[in-house]
């Protein structure tokens, strides 16, 4: 009984220390942020009904393919990676899967005004324009034209994608994934001068930041890290989840094994404790 009291004292003080240096300290070290907003509520809503067929025409006339490839539709990149890197700082994305990856409202907003949608107005302005120019319309109803283009991108997008494919299309242009053998296509020097810092390799980022942080960060980088060069990319809730799952499969590839083996070892020591208790009781019988 006395031993249990002592144990309670030990656990109590250990618990206070743990609480202080872990959960409590983290609330003090990391600012609390609002949960991820996958509705992109801050952006202007495009309520027009898009038409994919018209969208295809608008897409061609708007000059998108001057920079962007759409490989799935037989539209190759206008320049190779090195030249694109040198021209834009970063290799522009192929748009084959954009309709699958990105929120439709975000897509509409990013076509209309890239810096606002990406939340990089602190970096780009009239003096230093963003490499992706705003779409100023073809003379008709600009919102209708944009809605048509979004409908077109959605119509050509694959219906399902593997987690890794999502990462390749959404993140790899800037972020290598060394541990999965993937190096970004952009030239590191060009990218560094474009972003002011070299975007990190994400191989271990799942262990460094954790799922919770990444969920709010990817959704809106400025919220977690004010002033960061990383743009808001506009992933849907489902595709962002795919990205994080992929990061976990690379950076924490032994998670399942760890949790399974952990239970076996714990089970072993529970059984061992029972035997240890019986043995102790037996040898102590003669002295108590």
């Amino acid at each position: 009984m006395k031993e249990l009291k002592i144990l309670a004292v030990v656990i109590f003080f250990t618990g206070i220390v743990y609480w202080g240096v872990e959960p409590y300290a983290h609330t003090q070290l990391h600012p609390h942020v609002a949960p991820a907003d996958f509705g992109f509520e801050d952006l202007e809503k495009n309520t027009k009904q898009g038409d994919a067929t018209r969208g295809a025409e608008v897409f061609m006339m708007a000059g998108c393919v001057g920079c962007h490839s759409v490989e799935s539709q037989g539209m190759p990149a206008p320049m190779d990676d090195a030249t694109a890197s040198a021209s834009f700082g970063v290799v522009p994305p192929d748009l084959s899967s954009a309709g699958y990856l990105y929120d439709s409202n975000y897509l509409a907003a990013v076509i209309k005004n890239p810096t606002v949608a990406m939340k990089v107005e602190h970096k780009f302005n009239d003096m230093k324009p963003h490499p992706m120019t705003s779409f100023y319309g073809l003379g008709g109803d600009i919102d209708q034209e944009i809605a048509d283009m979004v409908a077109y991108l959605q119509s050509i997008a694959p219906k399902t994608m593997e987690n890794k494919e999502v990462y390749v299309d959404a993140c790899l242009r800037c972020h290598s994934m060394k541990y999965d053998g993937m190096i970004m296509p952009s030239d590191p020097d060009a990218l560094t001068s474009y972003m002011a810092t070299l975007p990190p390799d994400l191989s271990m980022m799942i262990r460094a930041k954790g799922e919770k942080y990444l969920t709010t960060f990817i959704n809106n980088p400025q919220k977690q890290l004010e002033g960061t060069s990383m743009p808001r990319v506009g992933l849907k809730e489902s595709t962002q989840k795919q990205v994080i799952e992929y990061m976990e499969s690379v950076g924490d590839s032994k998670k399942d094994e760890r949790e399974r083996v952990g239970l076996y070892i714990i089970g072993f020591f529970i059984i061992l404790s029972i035997f240890a208790y019986l043995w102790k009781k037996q040898v102590w019988r003669e002295v108590k």
């Binding site: 006395k2 031993e3 002592i6 144990l7 030990v10 003080f13 250990t14 206070i16 220390v17 743990y18 202080g20 240096v21 872990e22 409590y24 300290a25 003090q28 070290l29 060394k178 541990y179 810092t197 990190p200 390799d201 191989s203 271990m204 980022m205 262990r207 460094a208 930041k209 954790g210 950076g251 590839s253 032994k254 094994e257 760890r258 949790e259 083996v261 952990g262 239970l263 070892i265 714990i266 020591f269 529970i270 061992l272 404790s273 240890a276 208790y277 043995w279 102790k280 040898v283 102590w284 003669e286 002295v287 108590k288």
Partner: protein, 414 residues
């Protein structure tokens, strides 16, 4: 030379040559431990087991680890954590044991303080123990650098920089420790050597000294009772086992320790598999980057109390810079525990509950160190800085006050 006869078995053969029977008696079956002890007396064996885990897991990690700033991070996080079968297990065990061992060291230390197990002949036990604490701290610090993550680098930067505060030789000393003007490859390779060779050797030697130092004054007990071990041992050997106040190390004492270690391992492997972030700080999974200072730099939890003593003095006093006062206080905090047997002026060996002034002193110290630990991690701004300051002042005052608190204590219950 001893007379060697034809042996009647392997044990006898060995006994004639190595005196194994005598050895077993001395170390095991006739090494007498008081019966009146609680589970806190098992912490020494728990520590021994944790140290063994560290050595064994360390050996496995050593097979794949590369002490080079270009390869260290990937050798840990890719090769060991993902490629090598169960490499993650060894690494998690190593990281969690390094943290858990400090928890148990602190429990072990405070047990010693509470029951007065550091005086009246037990001074060398305490002193060798505190030397172990010091070397373990160096071992932990050097090991933390090896994965070459962000906190490895920045903690190394901040801690090695501290030596710059030492008058006259400071700047040269920092360069000497780092092996370079900045924390760099030379720093990593020398801390690697310290971590895997020199410090473990010293630790093993000190553990032997620590164990040996127990033999003459014997293990203390729950009441601080002075036991005549010879008489009690005779009683035990004569068969009056229930009446005797002692038990043999084997199997009696170890059977209890074995139980406690087994239970502790349940908790340990829960931490290893499911709850390890307290020991494997997420920020250290970002590779070291000299161009990118982390938002918050803090040491591992077990250094926080002394780190907070260092940071607590945040304002200049007259012409003395805050950093110098802090450094002096930090130095004080790191050596003062070893002097405990001489600061406690009372000859009484008894649990703190039977020593009025000391009882208050003990709990004040414990609470103060917890406050220091918690505030050591928080940003030192606003009210936090003042809490740190007063807690640091209290810490130092407690040790200055100890001789006065204990001086007048003459008899038990006073």
């Amino acid at each position: 030379m001893a007379r060697i006869e034809k042996a009647n078995g392997i044990v006898d053969w060995l006994d004639q040559r190595l005196a194994v029977k005598t050895l077993a008696k001395v170390l095991m079956t006739e090494y007498w431990i008081p019966k009146n002890i609680n589970f806190l007396w098992a912490m020494g064996v728990v520590l021994t087991v944790l140290f063994k885990i560290l050595v064994i897991s360390g050996i496995f990690l050593l097979m794949y680890y590369k002490p080079d700033v270009n390869y260290a991070f990937d050798s840990v996080n890719f090769t060991i954590m993902q490629e090598v079968e169960y490499g993650w297990l060894w690494r998690h065990m190593h990281g969690v044991a390094a943290s858990a061992i400090f928890l148990v060291i602190y429990i072990h230390m405070f047990t010693g303080i509470y029951y007065g197990s550091y005086k009246r002949g037990r001074e060398m036990i305490w002193i060798s123990g505190m030397m172990l604490f010091g070397i373990f701290s160096a071992e932990a610090f050097s090991g933390y650098m090896l994965p070459w993550g962000q906190m490895s680098y920045w903690a190394a930067q901040v801690i090695t920089n501290l030596f710059g505060g030492i008058p006259i030789i400071g700047d040269a000393l920092v360069v000497w420790i780092r092996g370079d003007f900045a924390v760099a490859d030379a720093t990593l390779t020398r801390f690697f050597m310290l971590h895997v060779l020199l410090l473990p050797l010293v630790i093993m030697l000190l553990i032997v000294v620590h164990f040996y130092s127990l033999r003459i004054p014997h293990v203390n007990n729950e009441e601080g009772e002075e036991i005549d071990f010879d008489i009690e041992a005779e009683k035990y050997k004569a068969g009056n086992k229930k009446e005797s106040k002692v038990i043999p190390f084997w199997p009696l004492f170890l059977s209890k320790d074995f139980l406690i270690v087994s239970i502790f391992m349940i908790f340990f492997f829960y931490l290893v598999s499911f709850h390890f972030s307290f020991a494997l700080d997420p920020i250290n999974f970002e590779p070291a980057n000299a161009m990118k200072t982390p938002a918050h730099i803090y040491p591992e939890w077990y250094f926080l109390w002394s780190y907070e003593v260092l940071r607590g003095f945040f304002f200049d006093v007259g012409s003395i810079a805050a950093a110098d006062i802090g450094l002096a206080a930090f130095g004080f905090a790191n050596v003062i525990f070893i002097l405990l047997p001489f600061l406690d002026r009372s000859p009484v060996v008894a649990p703190a509950s039977q020593r009025k002034g000391f009882f208050i002193w003990f709990w004040l110290l414990l609470i103060d160190m917890i406050v220091l630990t918690v505030y050591g991690k928080l940003p030192p701004t606003g009210a936090n800085a003042w809490v740190g300051f007063f807690a640091a002042v209290l810490f130092i005052s407690l040790f200055i006050a100890l001789p006065f608190v204990t001086k007048n204590e003459t008899k038990r219950g006073a």
